[in-house]
């Protein structure tokens, strides 16, 4: 039960490398914040700074309004779940879970009661006497969670906790983490590079790139109104398609001659722009006209519920991906006419990648109150 305030947090290493260039973020009580970004974007560094494992070069970190910059990890009242679980190999599951309580001087009886209670909560009762090496990956992950839960910390920190699990287990644990976090109502910060995990878990999503926050918002806000080309390309799977286009009045003209109605309220008149179209916003039509893209199919990926068509634009060499409904009778080399959904286009500045058609996106909601407003 805590709020977290990050005020211009910076991290500069002794060798002069700056990993984080001033991170501002206000995290509300009970909120699950997911930080995503490509590797090297500084997300793990940020988490480790929150944990106190990495020093803070500049700026202020406050938990419940109290500055904690210089506190040891244990004094911050946080719990962390590591990517490789970091269970103590020589301790039983129960000892692993109770170790933090033991260090805090919690009496033995109370310790056992709490450990058993937590074990029941996450389904570990049978395994309390086992050693970590006798457990499967999913069970180890569960113990690592239990170790965090049992202390009743103010903040949970997750460092890519699911990346060592297989795909099926990952989905299952993802749901479980979400369920537990809601049930316990603990503020949590979750770092991942998996954008599906990010979308499904997050109350709010923080997209990071190169030591900066690119955008903060609810997953759907980021999906629908990405503030930059980077966010647009990062959120959503398969990734958004980008095409060069020219904007004149309220018409977008593609180099291939296709003309599409431009989104309203943009400031890109008579400009070369970058047009973003999500694969799911391309639909197949039978006949070509001047609002469609004429493409040739390069590869088909049938997924059951829908089909991914990897195509190339006629005349151009730009590769595109289209997500088509159901099973589509298309094969490699086929001609495919695709119509973009004009109401769901994204325009980005060619130079700085900023979103052009929506001024709101620039002032991203950085606190929950503004999100709710």
């Amino acid at each position: 039960m805590a709020t977290l305030t990050l005020d211009a947090l910076r991290k500069t290493y002794p060798n002069g490398f700056t990993a984080l260039h001033g991170i501002d973020l206000a995290i509300d009580d009970g909120e699950l914040i997911v930080v995503v970004g490509p590797s090297g974007c500084g997300k793990s560094t940020l988490l480790r700074m929150l944990a106190g494992l990495e020093s803070i070069s500049d700026g202020e970190l406050a938990i419940d309004g109290q500055r904690v910059n210089d506190l040891e990890p244990a004094e911050r009242d946080i719990a962390m779940v590591f990517q490789n679980y970091a269970l103590y190999p020589h301790m039983s599951v129960a000892d692993n879970m109770g170790y933090a309580l033991k260090n805090r001087g919690v009496p033995k009886d109370e310790r056992r009661r709490k450990v058993e209670e937590t074990a029941r909560l996450i389904g570990l009762e049978e395994l309390l006497d086992r050693r970590p090496r006798q457990l499967s990956g999913g069970q180890r992950q569960r113990v690592a969670m239990g170790r965090a839960i049992v202390r009743e910390p103010k903040v949970f920190l997750f460092d890519e906790p699911l990346s060592n699990l297989d795909a099926k287990l990952r989905v299952q644990m993802r749901i479980e983490i979400r369920r537990l976090q809601k049930r316990l109502g603990v503020t949590a910060v979750y770092v991942t590079h998996d954008q599906v995990e990010a979308m499904t878990l997050a109350d709010r999503l923080v997209v990071m790139n190169g030591g900066h926050i690119e955008q903060v918002g609810t997953p759907m806000h980021l999906y629908e109104r990405p503030a930059s080309r980077f966010v647009a390309g990062f959120i959503g799977s398969p990734a958004m398609n980008f095409l060069d286009a020219r904007c004149t009045g309220d018409t977008l003209t593609l180099p291939c001659g296709t003309r599409i109605a431009a989104p309203s309220s943009h400031d890109a008149n008579d400009h070369a722009v970058c047009l973003g179209i999500r694969p799911e916003h391309l639909s197949r039509v039978a006949e070509a006209d001047d609002t469609t893209l004429t493409t040739r199919v390069e590869l088909v990926e049938p997924l059951g519920a829908d089909t991914l068509a990897h195509v190339r634009l006629d005349g151009q060499d730009d590769p595109l991906v289209a997500r088509l409904d159901g099973v589509q009778p298309v094969a490699e080399g086929d001609r495919l006419y695709l119509r973009p959904d004009a109401s769901r286009l994204h325009l980005f500045d060619l130079e700085n990648g900023r979103r052009l058609d929506d001024k709101d996106a620039h002032s991203c909601p950085s606190s929950p109150s503004s999100r709710l407003a």
């Binding site: 244990a74 962390m80 269970l87 020589h90 805090r104």
Partner: protein, 281 residues
């Protein structure tokens, strides 16, 4: 892959038996010789079978002061045991702390410290024996257990081995412990030491043997028979200019001197082998 050829089997067994005989024969000879009286040992041939003394020679060296030594073998065994235990435990204790500091703490000149320790690996005791003797003498450590143990207590080998082991401990373990509220001492006591038990056992065996077999240093530092070690006394028993060597006593003492190291190896070998070959942590 194992080759299955009868000829090879016979040859390898013959070789093994030969090697076994080569190893066992001296011990056997020592044992039979220890059961004879002095006179029968000077008839010219080494006896291959037991004599008429039974275990009397053993009883004698253990309970009565041996001529030219001024003390009984029980006392010598005790001295050697104290010295070997002191050296083994001390080396392990110091090495654990030194390696812990080098691996887990950031302090100025950390690398230099490590290399300084590492370089002393190449310096045998004999090279620094004069200054060491001078210091021990100035500190009034001659003829004392402290004098026997302290100068040999630091070990670059053990420090290096522990450092290598600590480097394989995943850093997340330390971070998890920090988050769990374990300070440096707790981390060492609760996490690191339990993880390194096999290493400790292996090193203990090696260092115990090292301490037990010390010859030069105890020879220099002890002049009183009360602090003499068994290795030094064995040599002293043999070096008699004018008298006949009491071979039956020498052999009994030698056999007794073998017992503690054998006991240590037998007791610890399970951990010892595990520590040497087991990569699992």
């Amino acid at each position: 892959m194992r080759y299955r050829r009868p000829g090879l089997d016979i040859a390898s067994h013959a070789l093994l038996i030969l090697a076994l005989l080569a190893f066992c024969l001296p011990v056997w000879l020592a044992f039979t010789a220890a059961t004879h009286d002095q006179a029968s040992l000077y008839t010219g041939t080494a006896p291959l079978w037991f004599g008429d003394q039974g275990l009397d020679n053993f009883r004698a060296v253990l309970s009565e002061p041996v001529s030219r030594l001024g003390t009984d073998v029980t006392r010598l065994l005790l001295n050697s045991t104290v010295m070997a235990l002191g050296i083994a435990c001390g080396k392990i204790f110091i090495a654990i702390l030194a390696a812990y500091a080098i691996v887990f703490f950031r302090f100025p000149l950390r690398r230099l410290c490590f290399w300084l320790i590492f370089i002393t690996l190449m310096l045998p005791v004999e090279v620094r024996i004069m200054p060491t003797y001078k210091i021990a003498a100035d500190l009034n450590l001659l003829n004392s257990y402290a004098g026997l143990i302290l100068p040999l207590i630091a070990s670059a080998t053990a420090t290096f081995l522990f450092r290598q082991f600590y480097l394989t401990v995943p850093p997340e373990l330390l971070e998890a412990a920090r988050v769990d509220g374990a300070g440096p001492w707790r981390f060492l006591k609760d996490i690191l030491l339990p993880l390194s038990t096999t290493n400790i056992a292996a090193l203990f065996v090696i260092m115990f043997l090292y301490g037990w077999n010390q010859y030069l240093w105890p020879l220099l530092i002890t002049t009183e028979s009360d602090y003499m070690t068994i290795m030094v006394s064995l040599k002293r028993l043999l070096s008699s200019a004018d008298n006949l060597v009491p071979w039956q006593a020498v052999m009994a003492t030698a056999l007794l001197a073998m017992l503690p190291p054998v006991a240590v190896i037998v007791l610890m070998q399970r951990y010892f082998v595990k520590g040497l070959v087991d990569a699992e942590k």
